[in-house]
Assembly symmetry: C2
Homo-oligomer: 422 residues x 2
């Protein structure tokens, strides 16, 4: 715990003197005596400061040795900042332009100084407010295809991938959060759970007694824990994405580790589906019809762009030890590589549905709820919207191997959503 | 490469002076001046000495910084000795009595001093000689169930498993051998390959043009590379097992790493199947009929004992983070845990068939052939036996998801084997 001993939390008053010696900051922000510092962190884990000066601004993010939301009773290693930094620089290399630029990293103080994104807002908030953002589907499809493909043995040198996997395997404390809070706790009456009660009591009891669902969720946990396919973002929900109408940036990869590709994809699509099911709680008389159509379209666009870019990388950048060209293209058998690609993407699609179903459940039954539902003022509508999402999540997790396409799912989502309006 | 710099290969003449100061040796072997030392290594990689003295004996195994079979042109890290030692002590804890006892380990000199097993012989040789060994099926079924279950997240603490996975991920040089020589090279005309030519030229060309087979083999490579389910032996063929009529011991786990459970099971059963297909080359007029029946019985016994012991551990020792009792038994839903177990074992069975098919192919088409076929004097019979094994391997690898049981496979194996006699 050497890190924790030397650690000192930043404060707006101390930040300029503690970071003022860094040339990379003073070059942009001017002399520290002129800096304006505000703490703006609204996440569950960290301190976040906006530092303004010289007509410019930067973000200073500092991990705390405990969960901010809960307090010192729930310690959490500072080293997550090291993994976040390492994930950010890998994502920047694998999907240029998709993450904030990093200006400085201090491992001992768990500080990352990074680009201040403005006028970006958190995607989740934009979706709650009903903003139509046509670039998010394509941008996020590309981000996932590039980071997930290029961090895997389809692309990397085998020894480099193994070393990186070992490095990120030390991020066990954050993996443990996902292993417990996402995959396990929602499926029984765990201490930290909560749900809209008593309205959801019936459906919750039914889901927790649903044997097929419980096995499906644990099958997905097995995949999460054992399948070190690529470096994941690890927490790719709409609260980890900042947007303008023109730009999409992915932030906060402190949960990064080597896991199954479909986890990032499933979590992201789950959050789009939850946004879809929650719109009913934010509308006045059909005002969100276009928003619902936009969200369904975003889901299919995200998947289609992901799939197409992944296929392009498969054809053009497959330089790793998996499905080597020596066995296919070099033998005049490019269709062999296409056959393998189709099977690979089909399996990824199935896994994606499994992870998405679980993500939906944990956001309604577990500890960390999301604002999409929590900000619905009409409690009865909130419960109906949550119920529709829970039923949808159960369907896709349990039946993931039998769902042929997102088209078929779209109709199911529409039916459940319409029923939730009654 | 600090290890390699300090390294000095043992010789029979220098061994007593170099190891004579170790009390754990002199207690059993007496004063080093009285030791008798013979080098007996016949493997591809290492030096192996038998040291006798004081009416007792020990094995001294030393890694060399290159592949012994090939020479200094193929360097191989000494650190494999560290992984072998660490695997041996874990296997001894997880499956007591199944591996040789370790008396001393010297990391810098890559030396393991271990129990001299006598009158044990290598299982492969015993099978070639037609020995009926009824204990091997049960013993090896138990060994695999216990080591594979207890080294996984079904049993271990999650952080301990992750740390151990990271430790063994450094065994990348030996993983690379398997990744290349087992999963890739056999399926194209790679430099180091060889096969019985010209007799097998036709079937080899057909297999290397077989798209479904090439995709299946690469799917299994994907599983091998990414699925860190448990600590594997990693090289569990019949040359890594020593037997008497009463006892079975597993040796040489230097390929150990965290990979898919089914790899060890598939490699072992593949070597039994190859022994089965090779018996025709070692018999006089039906003298191996009983041996063939014994081998088929051993295959089903090994799998049945593995499955039953794995199921017992699942019910009694499932203390890890996967399929937690809190979701099943603790909710009065023990059938939920049984449902998950059945699906888990079914997936493991499918993977086992895939790995077994690939193992058969690489032993006939790749670099490292095995004595079962190589010692067949009648070249035409050898080619027919190898062809039957290759066809069988192709069938189980490609059709692994559609094969319902070992019973069904037994009939196929018998038919192919009978045809190989013509």
């Amino acid at each position: 715990m050497a890190l924790e001993e030397a650690f000192e939390a930043l404060e707006p008053a101390t930040l300029p003197s503690r970071l003022g010696g860094l040339k990379v900051l003073t070059e942009k922000l001017g002399e520290p005596s002129g800096w304006q510092v505000r703490e703006v962190g609204d996440g569950n884990l960290n301190l976040v400061f906006i530092v303004e000066g010289g007509g410019s601004a930067m973000i200073v993010k500092q991990a705390l040795p405990y969960v901010r939301l809960v307090g010192e009773g729930w310690p959490l290693p500072l080293k997550r900042s090291f993994f976040e930094y390492n994930a950010l620089i890998r994502q920047a290399a694998r999907a240029p332009g998709s993450v904030p630029e990093v200006f400085h990293f201090d491992e001992a103080q768990a500080i990352i100084v990074q680009e201040f994104l403005t006028p970006h807002i958190i995607l989740r908030r934009a979706l709650i407010e009903g903003e139509n953002l046509p670039k998010i589907g394509p941008d996020l499809g590309l981000f996932m295809a590039r980071t997930l493909f290029r961090g895997s043995d389809l692309s990397m040198k085998a020894v480099a991938r193994k070393k990186d996997m070992a490095l990120f395997s030390e991020n066990d404390a954050l993996c443990d959060i996902t292993e417990s809070l996402v995959f396990t706790d929602p499926y029984y009456d765990a201490d930290m759970n909560s749900h809209t009660t008593p309205e959801l009591d019936g459906v919750v009891a039914r889901l927790r007694a649903d044997r097929d669902l419980k096995v499906a969720a644990q099958d997905m946990k097995l995949a999460f824990v054992t399948r070190a396919e690529t470096m994941l973002h690890g927490d790719l929900h709409t609260g980890s994405i900042m947007v303008t109408a023109d730009e999409t940036r992915v932030i906060d990869p402190e949960f990064a580790f080597y896991g199954p590709m479909a986890f990032d994809v499933g979590m992201l699509l789950a959050n789009f589906w939850m946004s879809y099911f929650s719109q009913r709680g934010h509308e006045q008389e059909g005002s969100r019809d276009a928003m619902r159509a936009f969200l369904l379209d975003t889901i299919s666009t995200t998947w289609a762009v992901f799939r197409d870019e992944f296929a392009r990388l498969w054809r053009e950048e497959r330089t790793g030890i998996l499905y080597q060209r020596s066995l296919y293209e070099d033998q005049g058998d490019s269709l062999g590589a296409e056959q393998a690609l189709d099977a690979f993407l089909h399996a990824l699609f199935e896994d994606m549905l499994g992870f998405a179903g679980v993500e939906i459940h944990r956001r309604i039954l577990g500890l960390a709820h999301n604002a999409d539902f929590e900000t619905i003022a009409d409690r009865a509508q909130k419960a109906r919207s949550e119920t529709a999402a829970l039923e949808f999540g159960r369907h896709i997790a349990v039946n993931r191997r039998h769902i042929s396409s997102l088209d078929a799912l779209e109709r199911l989502a529409m039916r459940l959503e319409e029923e939730s309006a009654r």
